[in-house]
Amino acid sequence: MKVLKVTLVIGGIITALWFSLIAVVIFVERIVLVFIGTSVLRSIAGLSLYFLWLALWFFTIKAFINFLLKSTRDSKALN
């Protein structure tokens, strides 16, 4: 049961990561690379968006871990 629960939670995070990455790739390829003329500017804009995607996910997962740590510590303190 524990195994299934963890797989659903982390598998869900990974699936969400995948969907959002595909969305960013499509946005960069279909919008950024089409509407920005200069190659260097395209690279900077594209890389910035990928970096933003990475940073957003990283801080979201970090916040989730901190929330779990705090709630586990609080429940241990109550017991």
């Binding site: 195994v3 982390i10 990974i14 995948w18 790739v25 871990i65 779990l68 740590l69």
Partner: protein
């Protein structure tokens, strides 16, 4: 006829690794080359240097492939030299212990054979333009060349970072190689099919000896090399994006660890662990605010205290999800 040859490049490395590994375990145990298993009560000693049977098994596979698929000898040679470089670095680290930063910098050098191969054999090794879903071939130019040095070092190090419990490395990478095989078949990339089949064969022959309770540890020579093989196949068959998806659990773990340590650390340098072992053998998340964060810590925070084999099973299922997404990625590319 061709199907039997595909079978051969899978079966022969599997048989070799399956037969050679137990002999190698006996040999290294006799020589006293063992390491304690930190996640088991009493910390039993386990044979080390699993990279050696893995490397020799891959060598058998490469030789068989070079005989039957001689038109791909350049791709096979480039792949072989790449894994050889990392195998040697890993072996030195297993025997002498390199500093975390030095080991990581050295793994970046493994891109050289692929870079040189791409310069010398422009018709055979074509880098760039990875396949992605819906888009087709990605139009990365500057960004691709900026990220290229990490295409080998990245997979090598994240696979190495997740080689923490019995059986995790061979089981998760076996799923990744299977995803690569399916994606290569969909795209008709024969280089990808040949190399993925060799590594699936090697890992099928080896996995039994590393699964819980492990008879041999992979060592850095094993985990860095298998990660390198994944990166090398990705580059040689334009599967960079597919591998990126398949490596999501490894990358997530690697990012959490790197952020915790603010850089690369050799695991022997780490003072506080993300998990602790209870007296009954179960593992629990370390609740100390100063403890480093890892994917295992997240697993234990979500699921509560777990036994080692339960954590390994969880990792296999998570990697199954990632590999399935990688195959879907490959299917829609």
């Amino acid at each position: 006829m061709i199907n039997y040859i595909y079978l051969l490049i899978f079966v022969l490395p599997a048989i070799f690794t399956g037969i050679f590994t137990p002999y190698f375990i006996k040999l290294v145990r006799k020589k006293g080359i063992t390491r304690p298993d930190a996640h088991k009560p009493g910390n039993p000693q386990v044979a080390y240097l699993g990279g050696v049977p893995l490397f020799l098994g891959a060598t058998v596979g490469m030789l068989v492939a070079a005989v039957f698929f001689s038109e791909y000898w350049i791709e096979l040679l480039v792949h072989y030299v790449t894994i050889l470089i990392i195998f040697v670095i890993g072996l030195i680290d297993d025997l002498k212990v390199l500093k975390g930063e030095i080991k990581t910098i050295l793994t970046v050098l493994a891109i050289l054979p692929i870079g040189v191969g791409a310069l010398l054999f422009r018709d055979k090794i074509v880098l760039g333009r990875p396949w992605v879903p819906i888009i087709g071939r990605l139009r990365l130019t500057i960004a691709y060349w900026l990220l290229l040095p990490f295409a080998i070092a990245g997979p090598a190090n994240v696979v190495n970072m997740l080689d923490i419990f019995n059986g995790i490395m061979p089981s998760t990478t076996l799923l990744i190689f299977t995803a690569l095989l399916v994606s290569s078949t969909i795209h008709g990339s024969e280089t990808g099919i040949i190399l993925a089949l060799i590594w699936i064969g090697v890992l099928v022959g080896y996995i039994y000896y590393n699964m819980y309770p492990a008879q041999i540890f992979n060592g850095d020579s094993g985990s860095l090399m298998v990660g390198t093989a994944i990166g090398s196949i990705a580059l040689l068959s334009h599967m960079e994006f597919i591998v990126l998806v398949a490596l999501f659990p490894h990358l997530l773990n690697g990012m959490l660890i790197l952020a915790s340590f603010r850089g690369f650390r050799e695991h022997r340098e780490v003072k506080e662990r993300p998990t602790t072992v209870l007296s009954d053998g179960r593992l629990k998340a370390n609740l100390s605010p100063s403890a480093p964060t890892s994917l295992t810590r997240l697993i234990l925070l979500v699921g509560g205290d777990m036994r080692e084999y339960e954590i390994v099973l969880t990792y296999i299922l998570i990697e199954f999800v990632a590999s399935l997404l990688a195959v879907i990625t490959g299917g829609f590319s």
